[in-house]
């Protein structure tokens, strides 16, 4: 059997295949070891880190919904210092490119995190800016204020690093095409589309929300058509690399995103159900390419036919 060339390049970085994991769905240090050989992944995207540790939200934090789940974890993480002390040495042993996802409350936070992380060029290959977590409200910041912060955060991070800078977006902040244009202008090299969509579920016996935070981020197959539409529209309008996320459960899902133009595929919630989802998807993509005589994934990427 002929090998299929799955190599994907973004801003001088080479990924041996397009399969990665969505932030917050793959743990921090080897939770999936034994199920997945991390070296086989195209890239690893970490759970969001913040400057200071965050305790996270009260319970319950998750609930199942039709074809998906809601979560309101609240960016629980041990903070930047712990990441540098414990996680960087762990990932230094894995050759797979690491993309570190960061979040902050101000552009200063994004700058500080980026500055600290870019001191580890052998490990941290890219920074993903979480500009769209639906479960963290800072004093009820208004819509326009959030948009302003978003642009300022991208500019602040850009000023600190030449490395691949990815902005993770959500339709919650307004028209995605408009936001995409704004963050590209502010200096983002690539976009992650999409973060979870804010939703809720009510227990009719207690009349309370099934999530302590009341609302949570919806993920899973339920949001895939929405994510696919945004990836398609953004790729149609901008020459920008896109990391697609949103309900990628199988190779078929992944292939739809590739045909729509996605550069990388972030497998998220699927990991929770099938710990080997990433590698199953990778094998499925390879199988499809062989069946269809596709030698390079690049031939398939963005090959959507309008008629």
């Amino acid at each position: 059997m002929k090998a299929v060339d799955l190599t994907t390049r973004i801003k001088g970085l080479t990924f041996k295949n397009p399969v990665t994991v969505a932030s917050g769905t793959f743990g921090t240090t080897g939770e999936y070891a034994g199920f997945v050989d991390y070296k086989k992944l195209g890239a690893i995207i970490t759970k969001t880190i913040t400057i200071k540790p965050r305790a996270g939200n009260p319970m319950p934090r998750i609930c199942e919904t039709a074809g998906g789940m809601l979560n309101a974890i609240g960016l629980q993480n041990k903070g930047l210092d712990d990441f540098i002390e414990h996680k960087i040495p762990y990932y230094a042993k894995i050759a797979t490119p690491l993309i570190v996802n960061i979040a902050g409350e101000s552009e200063g936070d994004f700058a500080k995190l980026t500055r600290a992380l870019q001191k580890y060029p052998r490990v941290v290959k890219a920074i993903e800016l979480n500009l769209s977590c639906p479960n963290v409200e800072k004093g009820g910041a208004g819509f326009m204020k959030k948009r302003k912060l978003m642009k300022a955060a991208v500019r602040a991070a850009r000023a600190e690093t030449d490395r691949l800078l990815i902005a993770k977006l959500s339709p919650e902040l307004g028209d995605v095409l408009e936001i995409a244009g704004e963050v590209i202008d502010a200096g983002a090299d690539a976009l992650s589309l999409i973060n979870t969509l804010k939703g809720m579920a009510i227990n009719i016996e207690t009349r309370r929300s099934r999530i302590a935070n009341i609302t949570g981020g919806l993920s899973g197959p339920a949001i895939k058509p929405v994510a696919l539409r945004y990836v398609y529209e953004v790729k149609k309008n901008y020459a920008v690399p896109v990391i697609a996320a949103g309900g990628i459960m199988t190779a078929r899902d992944a292939l739809e995103f590739i045909i729509a133009g996605a550069d990388l595929l972030a497998v998220g919630t699927a990991n929770f159900i099938n710990p080997r989802a990433t590698l199953d998807i990778l094998e499925g993509i390879t199988g499809y390419c062989r069946q269809h005589g596709i030698r390079r994934i690049q031939e398939l990427r963005g090959s959507f036919r309008h008629v």
């Binding site: 319970m59 319950p60 998750i62 974890i73 197959p221 159900i273």
Partner: protein, 258 residues
């Protein structure tokens, strides 16, 4: 202990009394080295998205590569599981989580069980020296058939809410009697069951200064410590019950609800 994820074929899946269903399948890898308190993470319909998430179940009994699980039908997932017949396939991850302490020195061991907490504590009592097994249920129809308890050497006491079997009232009343009889300083408690029951047990244990462990139950997604959904509050903050638990020493738990 190596965690595995494999497809198994159901051998038996049927109702055994007014409360529990028994699921039986074979898997050498899922049975190897398992201790009471650990759990399996089951994808009930492997090719479907309904139910979407896996469901965690305690191990109940292991005989070589034969694994038994007792479950209650409590929601959409277990309703669908109960419909499956022998020959149906499940995807199962395991063994997951931390087990109950097996060796307790210098103290008499009391197990306090209710509802879905009965199976792992029967497992513990079958495999280890245990002095008392206290089981709380609503009524006689929910009490495990005698043959299911025949391998337990501990003294078994039942409490039912309606008094139709054993003592009338809550299982905690049985615990209070044993404390009076044996003395708190001579006891060690291990508990698993509905949260209000475990909270009541832990309140008594704290009042009396009795050490022990509780197996916590939270909604769970990944089962491997990645999603941070199944959190339990400890003095050090929220920790994932799927990897740090589900069994925790009483001292590691902070009461979070009334």
């Amino acid at each position: 202990m190596k965690r595995v994820d494999e497809t198994v074929t159901i051998q038996e899946n049927s109702r055994i009394n007014g409360k529990y269903y028994k699921l039986v399948f074979k898997s050498g890898r899922l049975a190897r080295g398992v201790q009471a308190g650990q759990f399996l993470h089951v994808q009930i319909r492997p090719e479907a998205v309904d139910p979407f998430l896996r469901r965690p179940f305690s191990y109940y009994r292991i005989q070589k590569d034969r694994i038994e699980v007792l479950y209650e039908v409590l929601g959409r997932g277990t309703e669908l599981l109960a419909e499956l017949g022998s020959g149906s396939r499940l995807k199962i991850m395991g063994p997951l989580g931390k087990a109950f302490t097996r060796k307790v020195k210098g103290r008499k061991r009391v197990l306090v069980a209710g509802g879905v907490g009965v199976p792992p504590l029967v497992f513990l009592a079958e495999k280890n020296p245990v002095d008392y097994l206290l089981i709380g249920t609503k009524s006689k129809a929910e009490v495990l058939p005698k043959n299911e308890l025949s391998k337990v050497s501990a003294k078994i006491l039942h409490a039912t809410n309606d008094g139709s079997y054993g003592t009338r009232g809550f299982v905690t009343a049985l615990l209070e009697k044993i404390i009076q009889k044996e003395g708190a300083e001579r006891l060690y408690i291990q508990t698993c069951g509905p949260t209000p029951m475990m909270n009541a047990v832990m309140d008594i244990a704290r009042r009396e200064g009795i050490p022990g462990e509780a197996s916590m139950e939270e909604s769970m997604a990944c089962g491997v410590g990645a999603c941070l959904g199944c959190m339990v509050k400890t003095p050090q903050g929220w920790v994932a019950s799927c990897i740090e638990g589900p069994v925790f020493p009483f001292n590691d738990l902070v009461r979070t609800c009334a």
